[in-house]
Symmetry: C2
Subunit: 326 residues, 2 copies
Amino acid sequence: METRPRNGKITEYNQPFIEQRADPYVLRHNDGKYYFTASVPAYDRIALRCADSLTGLASAEEKTVWTKHESGPMSRHIWAPELHFLFGKWYIYFAAGEQDNKWKIRPYVLECLGEDPMADEWIEKGKIQRSDDDIYSFEAFSLDGTVFENKGEWYYIWAEKVSVGIQISNLYIAKMESATKLSTAQVLLTTPDYDWERVDIWVNEGPAVIKHDGRIFVTYSASATGECYCMGMLSIDENAELLDPRAWKKERYPVLGSDPEKGFFGPGHNSFTQAADGSDVCVFHARTYRDIEGDPLYDPNRHTMLMKVKWNDDGYPVFDYENMVR
Amino acid sequence: METRPRNGKITEYNQPFIEQRADPYVLRHNDGKYYFTASVPAYDRIALRCADSLTGLASAEEKTVWTKHESGPMSRHIWAPELHFLFGKWYIYFAAGEQDNKWKIRPYVLECLGEDPMADEWIEKGKIQRSDDDIYSFEAFSLDGTVFENKGEWYYIWAEKVSVGIQISNLYIAKMESATKLSTAQVLLTTPDYDWERVDIWVNEGPAVIKHDGRIFVTYSASATGECYCMGMLSIDENAELLDPRAWKKERYPVLGSDPEKGFFGPGHNSFTQAADGSDVCVFHARTYRDIEGDPLYDPNRHTMLMKVKWNDDGYPVFDYENMVR
């Protein structure tokens, strides 16, 4: 597979970890195994990889565990799958559109009937269900759902668009009563407030959760998916009320953006995992060139890359291309 | 005119200052004169009062300065007019719908051709214009525009609804380049985050600005217009970046709500003025009873009331029915 350096280059920093896998997601399970999934360029299926080490994922066999429908819900734009283990079972959260309405993107869930996500059967659990008192969530373009646990409770964070006409993508949070249903109405976590979140289109999406030293950090991606795509960050004390949006702090500037010199363009839609020694790793995608022919959404060369996460004296994560896993 | 105490009462606290005037607005001009305007129950016109004293407004003659059109824009639901003097002229900001589409509410401006808003001619300046780089503002139900000056620049705050289907009313802020046009794209100031902003419908509306001791406070109204209607508050240091929504602090709880004992139901949509001695006064509407027959929007008995604004040791305003102007 060729990685063409159109107005770009392969440098000592930007060698892809896995080529042509966007919205990359890595899970280190409590048995030490690593799992990988991501959006594939055809947006037509969900594939998993499993390996005994993080770096082993690069060459691990990819197994398709679910394929899109021919029509109707979940028949197009299969995006951003994530594998999670909660309420005692394996789940895959993903977003999908419809053949006849490719922008009718909604969040869906698969459930594994056994204990081995690579080998056991996956069944469809339908669309994520909002809480009974919520008349707003998942009415519009919504995607990039992720889940995390805090103080024994599970939370769901997702991106959803609002406004009439051209829309704005925001991030919302709610508590979960099960792996497939929310128990509280949506709360707005962040909307594109700043210039760097408003390039071409106003977007906040791709939330990813990491905890460190009593704080919860949520990185997210902003702006259109070209060179302007970048990562912002929210944070909160783990003892605060996570459903109070004013208890979250939002960084005024991006925490990671393009670096033409080092050959990174449009970094974002990350997830977090740990190396075997427990140190934190940021899994993200980026292109190695700036100029895209046609719609960026259908340019396949968003590659999965790995970066070590360092922590500063204030307990905040530092994202720096000097810390790429090579 | 009768003020019927249906499940309510007239108490020593809740005597109306002006009956059946909702969304009340008082301006004390720099020549010492007081002006009053408000939504009238028929929602069909804009009327001004002028007096030499605040209390004189109660008995001042009301002059209609503009009447709704027969059809098209500004032909129905003439709401929440405010009189302001900026860029050297008098303006009236208001919201209006259309006969054929009563919920197509948009913000409009009138300009006075002379120096006397009571006597001189008013002309229509059309809809408020968003900035050239803003494709979002005033596309949907939008109303309750107010303006204020800080550090030599003028700002516009308004309410606008988002979402598909049933909508959510948020508050936005932008800078103004003239009395009729904004110079920056919308920034989200507040959305209904908390339970008390989400009763029946999710609403933030009716912003009003008051400054005190280096801080800018914006009160606003939340929830549906029945008993649940109440006032929330934002604040910011006057030296901060007013277009940075994260620089604003939002109060976790309402600053003024219903008080059945004292006979106030659904207080809100306030404005601020000063008494002759320069002390601050909150002008708001409330009903004197809880039970409304039919649509609250067409119940005429939202009365204008006055409350002295006290300031606590932290420099924050205190809203207390013990401080009504009687």
